[in-house]
């Protein structure tokens, strides 16, 4: 029987990852709980007055989404590395940088997408003006996909290390900063009534660049980590 084509194999990998995620539904809830708890920290720290909260809301929501994405991006390849499946993936005839996209797609579906879907609730909690919520969800949708791709590079480079968890944040947080800049700027523009289009366009451009280049770095990173 001939090996499946790259895209067909990608879809099969995606279904496998989603099946694995669904088998542990509580683990899907972890990033959302983390998001809720950190958002709840800010009123305790900054004071409950709605005006101050509204002022900080775009930045707080985006930084929390970024941190919860960082929290989960370490585990993207780790479980497969520990039980030896990652080695088999490297030996598959299909191109590795396509298969890696399946892993990142599954990670985005189980974290980023849900984060964006849940974020309006937290936006209301932080008194974000209603007209900015649509911009928040749109920027989070594109932004978390971008964050997952960049986080995947860090995960691929540190998957072989015993104590890679802390290291991954040092490696990829500098690369998250441009995404944060334009993500929260989009929400702030919506709050101020300015057009949101250009910011989302820049985020989209970064996403295209990441989709093109990040898998190459991930594939190289995985081959190096497995070989170490």
């Amino acid at each position: 029987m001939t090996p499946p084509g790259a895209v067909q194999f990608c879809i099969r990998l995606l279904r496998r990852q989603l099946l694995l995620a669904v088998r542990r539904p509580l683990e899907i809830g972890n990033p959302l709980l983390f998001f809720a708890m950190v958002v709840a920290l800010f009123p305790l720290g900054l004071g409950p007055t709605p005006e101050t909260l509204a002022g900080f809301a775009p930045g707080v929501l985006w930084i929390t989404a970024l941190l919860s994405n960082l929290l989960t991006s370490d585990a993207v390849f780790r479980s497969d590395f520990e039980d030896g499946s990652l080695e088999q993936l490297l030996l598959a005839p299909q191109p590795l940088f396509m298969s890696v996209l399946a892993y990142i797609g599954a990670h985005w579906l189980t974290t980023g997408l849900l984060l964006a879907a849940v974020s309006p609730v937290f936006a209301l909690m932080l008194n974000l003006p209603a007209q900015a919520i649509v911009a928040l969800v749109a920027s989070l949708l594109i932004g978390t996909a971008l964050l997952s791709l960049i986080g995947g590079i860090g995960a691929a480079l540190t998957v072989g290390l015993k104590r890679g968890g802390m290291l991954i944040s040092l490696l990829i947080l500098p690369l998250y900063m441009p995404v944060l800049i334009f993500g929260s700027a989009a929400v702030q523009a919506a709050v101020g009534g300015f057009p949101v289009g250009p910011y989302l366009a820049i985020l989209g451009a970064m996403l295209c660049l990441a989709i093109a280049l990040a898998p190459l770095a991930m594939a190289a990173g995985l081959r190096i980590s497995i070989d170490a």
């Binding site: 290390l161 900063m177 700027a185 170490a228």
Partner: protein
Amino acid sequence: MWPIFHKFGSPPWLYAIAGAILRWLLPITLLALVTGMVWGLLFTPSENVQGNSYRIIYIHVPAAVVALAGYYVMALAGAVSLIWRMKMADVAMKAAAPVGAALTFVALFTGAIWGKPTWGTWWVWDARITSMLILLFLYLGVVALYEAFDNKEAAGKACAVLSLVGMVNIPIIYKSVDWWYSLHQGASIKFTGETSIHPSMLYPLLLMIAAFYALFTCALLLNMRAELLQREQRTQWVQKLLSKDVVN
């Protein structure tokens, strides 16, 4: 492969060449640094707006320029070691990381201290300084990743990938920080930009930039010699080196 590339790749040849270059480049670099500093500190006129605090420009701008260039040198060395599997490029990358990090720290420290007399605060989130801070994080990321691997061969390859990813991201980071700064502050003066600088102040600056480039090269070569010895300690040429007891 071209024979010169291979010759360049052999450790003893590189060790000897680095030693030869250093013998004449190191004194010239130190001389240039001293003259540049003295010239900038004591002999150039003070600037009408900022008074004498602008003299910090003679170390801040060169350090910033060379720190950024150093990251590109590191990333390109990493690329060569990844693509052509050359051990020497891997050694060059490993040697460039700490030097670049040190120069970035110098640029950050002098930039921060320059902010105090001109803007009254120790840390100002100016576009240049913020980008420099992110560059320092990128350097520290590469150094930390290198230390995290036990197998040094894989560490070099992983750092090569990370520095290449960083190289692609640096223009994006610089542009987005500049844009972010102009969004919140309005396009105020870029106090580190030397647009309309008087020639008498410009020449020491150019000398200092050249001196810092030479300093980076010397530090890189020095680090490479130390790294080469450590990696090739079991080979004959290192033993031969020891028996000759040439410790220059």
